[in-house]
């Protein structure tokens, strides 16, 4: 061990391999979508409009997922994200209306979400209440409190009512970035294999995009950097992995758990604020519609990592936006999933995992038959098909998940040793 070596350590090689892996998965996904688009002649599948709608659908889910990431990395399961998001929708509307600035509104949304987070932290960290029980309670409280507050504060306002508040100013929208938006949109209109799909994505990201969306994407990067590259993040994660060990090294576990859950609530609140200010024309009660849970699911599928949760949220957001645009696209989705499943089957066969290959081949073939034998998905199914297919792909595609070791476990000070 006295000679110094210049070859990269095995771990950095593994990290590079993991990064390359993510890149391949992303490229593969785009290629698959592109292939299905050309095969089914459904150009709307990757039109600029669809991608724009997908980004808008992704952002709230992403924020809920980020909220989950912060809490669970510190060992607290936060199923109360939904409630914290709902509180955020009201906070955004209230503070935007009274200040006139949507950015103050977003801070208000974060504050309301944080209040939900504080409740959760008091219950789970200080009193050791079961995390799921407390989270469900927060969800009920969030919905109840928001309904009450809306009725109490919005009824007499201009544009308001007991269940809504519309006509709020929205965060700045970037109309176009010269030199990028135009050419990208032109390229997207050519409908070339792969290239046009990527161009469409670039066009959507640079044209008529809310600044808040970009802030949200930046928050994903910032969260990843803080949690994995700073000593604050290391201490926070140690509380989720082995709080007893952290305690013996002088980490104030209670404090870090509180901070994590507060940040978690703030993130979920901002997600709610996005819903009220950007994704729709204003506040209405219960407009989160389960996105808190979807965000939590995206984070779990993303293996408790920011990159993974981004991929999970994008998948959910994309299929959700397809549902809203046209039923033909939903029908194409069947083929997309069938192609994905068959691709995994081939991979399994190559790796000689026969049982796994069969498990993939059967639903893959069934979906293919469904696609070929019908022209559209029955109307009653269209609203749920995206979720079902997404769950399908993610659940089957994600093989090895590793949650923080002490996630959801009660922790008491002085239990070390």
């Amino acid at each position: 061990m006295t000679t110094t070596t210049t070859t990269p350590s095995p771990v950095s090689r593994v990290r590079n391999a993991a990064r390359a892996n993510w890149l391949f998965i992303a490229l593969g996904a785009v290629a698959a979508v592109s292939l299905v688009r050309i095969l089914t002649d459904t150009n709307d599948l990757t039109s600029v409009g669809t991608i724009r709608a997908a980004i808008i659908a992704t952002c709230p889910i992403l924020m809920a997922g980020l909220g989950g990431l912060w809490a669970e990395r510190a060992g607290v399961v936060n199923i109360g994200l939904e409630g914290q998001m709902v509180l955020g929708t009201w906070g955004a509307a209230f503070f935007t209306y009274h200040s006139g600035s949507p950015w103050v509104g977003i801070l208000g949304a974060a504050l309301l979400g944080m209040i939900g987070g504080l409740l959760h932290a008091i219950a789970t960290v200080t009193f050791g209440v079961d995390h799921i029980v407390s989270g469900v309670a927060i969800n009920l409280i969030g919905v109840g409190a928001t309904t009450y507050l809306a009725e109490a504060t919005f009824t007499d306002l201009e544009g308001g009512g007991p269940r809504q508040l519309i006509g709020l100013p929205t965060p700045t929208t970037i109309d176009r970035i010269p030199g990028i938006s135009g050419p990208a949109a032109d390229l997207a209109d050519k409908h070339w294999f792969f290239i046009s799909d990527v161009a469409s994505f670039v066009a959507a990201l640079t044209t008529k995009i809310s600044l808040l969306s970009l802030v949200i994407f930046a928050l994903v990067v910032a969260s990843g950097w803080i949690l994995w590259k700073t000593s604050f993040g290391l201490r926070l994660r140690s509380c989720g992995e082995n709080p007893q060990a952290a305690e013996t090294l002088g980490v104030n576990v209670y404090l870090y758990k509180y901070v994590a859950v507060l940040i978690s609530g703030a993130m979920a609140g901002i997600g709610g604020g996005f819903l009220a200010l950007v994704a729709s024309s204003g506040f209405s009660t219960n407009q989160t519609n389960g996105r808190g849970y979807i965000g939590l699911a995206a984070m779990i599928f993303g293996n408790w990592r920011p990159g993974g949760l981004l991929a999970g949220a994008l998948t959910f957001g994309y299929t959700d936006s397809l549902r809203l645009r046209d039923t033909h696209a939903v029908h194409s989705l069947l083929l997309l999933v069938a192609v994905a499943l068959i691709a995994i089957t081939v991979l399994r066969i190559v790796r000689k995992q026969i049982a796994g290959a069969v498990a993939m081949a059967v639903p893959g073939a069934a979906l293919l038959v469904w696609f070929l034998s019908t022209d559209s998905v029955p109307r009653d199914f269209t609203s749920m098909t995206p979720y079902v297919t997404t769950l399908f792909v993610l659940a089957l595609g994600t093989q090895r998940l590793r949650m923080p070791a002490a996630d959801g476990r009660p922790y008491r000070k002085g239990s070390a040793g």
Partner: protein, 503 residues
């Protein structure tokens, strides 16, 4: 090596928990630049004392002086600031973090969390031959590597007083040698090492000074150059006489349980049990003596079908039961008094009559076909409560409401029901009061007279000597000696248990 500067001085330390005196009047002096061994039996108060020195627990009485200065250690942070570091018996590592992350956690200010820290880890690792790679996940490390990481963690924080709580308990002999080489390096670098153990040969091999604890207090010191293992064993065990009285033998010629060369390996592929062979006759009580963690729990779990041995065979009567599972074994007539009644023996919040059914849920009087026979179970619970003198308000009382002794009597009654042919009793009188202890002893003796074969595992040497027809000693997963309880003394057993002297 004989520097006379004192690193740690504990004077009159006392610590009480509700109902228990963990430490009283503890005096301990550790010289700088030495390895100081603290020895004593399980429950002698060693671990509590170490937690006090590391600031995890606060002492009720006494003073702690470090490098001649009196200090108050309220938290581990205080202890670290005073140069005290501790390697816990159960490692304090996060599996999903890297070596580097585990190392710098809580000490990020010293060398950052990046390349400077990496360089410092390499420096410590090279200086003591630890061979640590900073960017490997801890879950990839073996036990010995984890221990070296724990020691490196302590050094990283600049500790010069290093406590190791039973560091060899998890190591195989070669790893122990490597650890001792590391410890000598640390000592030669001027650190004070406090080594807690109950393995006497190891203590004599590494220690410069020895302090012995018994029943919560320090009872003496010894010089490793002049003392013998036997003298240390006597100091550790004390010299009380056995209280349960031996009766005339009821051992028959019929063998009930036979283990032949049973071997069991853990997930790392190291042997927990090695070539264990024993046989118990009807009417015989076979006692297993051993320091805790030497394979007793694994032996019991293997016989009970909770673990399947990697090699060897187990016969119950003439039947090969090596691969049977627990329920089948229980139905074949094995009664089991588990080591920890709260974790394995009872549902604390269920009423007594439901607890009566546990483990016998497929047998009369508890079951009728696929259904639970509620009235049968209740009636039989009444019988157990009366026959075994379980003091409880009624059979609908939750088990939690009973005292430890009464809980244990219920378990004994349950396991004696249904005419068992073999009883496995793990620490049957641990944590019960004197009255219940005598009652449980009586029940075991009566069962023996009725022809039951009994495997008795106990940390109470007097109990083993008083009840057993034969005593075998288990050490590091091997049966290392057979003793006749009529002639053996606790001191002999203590010595054999700690590897001091084979039979």
């Amino acid at each position: 090596m004989t520097q006379e500067s004192v690193a740690v001085e504990l004077r009159g330390i006392g610590k009480r928990f509700p109902g228990v005196i963990a430490n009283h009047d503890v005096d301990l002096t550790i010289r700088a630049g030495t390895v100081h061994a603290l020895i004593g039996e399980n429950g002698a108060g060693k671990s509590t004392l170490m937690k006090i020195l590391y600031g995890v627990q606060k002492p009720d009485d006494g003073t702690i002086a470090i490098n001649g200065r009196e200090v108050a250690l309220r938290t581990p942070t205080d202890a670290i600031a005073n140069g005290v570091g501790m390697v816990f018996q159960h490692f304090m590592l996060a599996d999903n973090l890297t070596v580097l992350e585990n190392m710098v956690l809580g000490a990020e200010k010293l060398h950052g969390i990046g390349d400077r820290a990496r360089a410092e880890i390499r420096r410590i690792s090279d200086a003591f031959g630890f061979g640590l790679q900073p960017d490997v996940l801890v879950e990839k490390l073996g036990v010995a590597d984890r221990q070296r990481l724990e020691i490196a963690k302590v050094l990283y924080r600049g500790a010069c007083i290093i406590i190791l709580d039973e560091p060899t308990a998890v190591l195989v002999p070669q790893e122990v040698d490597a650890l001792f080489a590391n410890l000598r390096e640390l000592r030669n670098a001027g650190n004070a090492v406090l080594f807690i153990s109950h393995k006497l040969d190891e203590v004599l091999a590494i220690a410069d000074d020895i302090t012995v604890m018994r029943r919560g207090t320090t009872v003496g010191t010894a010089d490793p150059h002049t003392t013998t293992k036997r003298e240390l064993a006597e100091l550790m065990v004390g010299s009380e006489l056995p209280s349960p009285e031996t009766e005339e033998s009821t051992v028959t010629d019929t063998v009930e349980l036979t283990l032949a060369n049973v071997t069991l390996a853990d997930e790392f592929g190291r042997n927990l049990l090695t070539d264990v062979s024993l046989s118990i006759h009807r009417g015989e009580i076979l006692g297993i003596a051993g320091v805790e963690g030497n394979g007793q729990a694994e032996l019991v779990e293997t016989i009970m079908g909770m673990r399947i041995p990697g090699g060897g065979t187990i016969h119950l009567g003439t039947e090969d039961v090596t691969h049977w599972h627990t329920r089948k074994l229980r139905e074949a007539g094995i009664g089991y008094i588990p080591e920890d009644r709260h974790r394995h023996g009872l549902l604390l919040d269920a009423p007594l009559w439901e607890n009566r059914i546990l483990g016998h849920q497929t047998q009369a009087p508890n079951a009728k076909g696929p259904w639970i026979n509620r009235s049968g179970a209740r009636k039989d619970t009444q019988r157990i409560v009366a026959e075994y003198d379980v003091r409880a308000p009624g059979i609908d009382t939750p088990a939690r409401a009973l005292s430890g002794g009464n809980q244990q009597k219920l378990i004994v009654g349950r396991e004696m029901s249904g005419d068992p042919v073999l009883l496995i009793a793990s620490h049957p009188t641990r944590g019960v009061d004197v009255g219940a202890q005598a009652a449980i002893w009586d029940h075991i003796k009566r069962a023996r007279r009725a022809g039951l074969a009994v495997l008795l595992i106990s940390a109470d040497l007097d109990e083993l000597i008083g009840l057993s027809d034969t005593i075998q000693v288990i050490l590091r997963g091997r049966l290392v000696g057979t003793f006749d309880p009529a002639s053996v003394t606790p001191q002999d057993l203590g010595a054999a248990m700690t590897g001091g002297q084979a039979a």
